[in-house]
Subunit: 283 residues, 2 copies
Amino acid sequence: MVSKTIRVAIQGERGSFSEEAVLKLLGEIAQVHSCRYFEDVFRLVVSGETDACLIPIENSLTGSIHRNYDLIRRHELRINQEVYLKIEHNLIVIPGVKLEDVRTVISHPVALGQCERFFEKHPKLQKESSYDTSGSVRDLIESGSRDVAAIASRRAAEIYGGEILLSGIQDNQENFTRFVLLSKRLDPLDGANKTSIVFSFKNSAGALFKSLSVFALRDIDLTKIESRPIHGRPWEYLFYLDFLGSTKEPRVKNALNHLREITEFLEIMGCYPRDESVEKKGM
Amino acid sequence: MVSKTIRVAIQGERGSFSEEAVLKLLGEIAQVHSCRYFEDVFRLVVSGETDACLIPIENSLTGSIHRNYDLIRRHELRINQEVYLKIEHNLIVIPGVKLEDVRTVISHPVALGQCERFFEKHPKLQKESSYDTSGSVRDLIESGSRDVAAIASRRAAEIYGGEILLSGIQDNQENFTRFVLLSKRLDPLDGANKTSIVFSFKNSAGALFKSLSVFALRDIDLTKIESRPIHGRPWEYLFYLDFLGSTKEPRVKNALNHLREITEFLEIMGCYPRDESVEKKGM
């Protein structure tokens, strides 16, 4: 009688890395709603059409995705969970096609750019850009082209019936993306042991050091710190901070109250169980 | 007799934002060498075929480009200068073509994605992805298509003879990219007043706070701080730090010596005159 389905909005099609991240985090109870734009992803959660959304917020090669941090803040959603996904690119063809038959390789330009060494080793292959990775597999299979390959995830190959000719062809094997699951739920899940905050100061010289002392004095370990200039307000910065601890712990409550004394604004983006598969200690 | 030409390698074609940044920084003395891949950009400087290279390292919406930080470190080049460029997207057509004639808009998917609101206002326009922004203008002009527009920089329109139908169509008006000029030159230029460093600790709990005290105790203002997890080494982080001061100042020398006492490794990425047009104060 109890429906355990969780409706999750993502940006991207079936077979995208976002979909893979939802399945890694929630398994089969997830019902994925694909959106073309990130703005729509958030709108579905705000309107209640989905229970949550999952978006990428940082990548080990390309850094934090500030635009998605902005969207989280603008829509006042909370981070309830996080998950890291290893980004693996595969060369996918119509079953039976051999590497020597392939003339053209299609994918999103970012994916093509992450496989530069593969193309250096195969200089005869022409690159062609497409709107997204999994869509390029779908288009390839529909077209029936036997001289074309696509670069995408393993899941995209499975969904559309492509064959993986070569796997893990990305230049850098340490390519990870961190995704967060967001909803209107304010209360942390059981086991929440990590907190993400964002804050700023009005007059900021020396203020960063004071703000870190708030945590250092209470032996609270940080797992991320990042400053971001606020353009249009040339003397101001936003700070993103992740630390190990729950907002239910007294020392964390005290630290956040202390931080409020010196910040101009402070927002808690969420308190959630950390992805233990990454096993980060504090800094 | 004296040739003042400076040969600068960039990733991207004529009309790219990198070329625009070179011209903003160096003006007409720059002789730009276009490369397809970032790896090649660095190789040209290392081999001495160019005097320097200019690469993007952070964007106000998409964050730091860690991959380019890695390339700087791997090739042991130094930052000699920095420049911020406002990223403006324009709708470009063959001269005489009107907006109502346009059916398809081509550009790099990242540029298309930064103009979502424009496409929401013009729902009949079809998007088509291409390898880069300026190349899409060149292809458009060569094709003679009167029902196609491209999205690219003002400079791309000028170079290839396109007409700007609409300017500044990006969603976010505060879209800036920071570029750095790199060479083998170790000695800071005259007027250098900003320094970029990268460092890490072996056992990092509490170490970040100590490392910031090195600067706070000497009233040295920071303009950027960012942690980056080192994947594959789960308890380690890299830290990127920019501060206001020259490596020729005694207090900066002392701070760096102090920092060496607590870091596992510390590299000075460069000491250079900061781009005053941005007018950042410390944090």
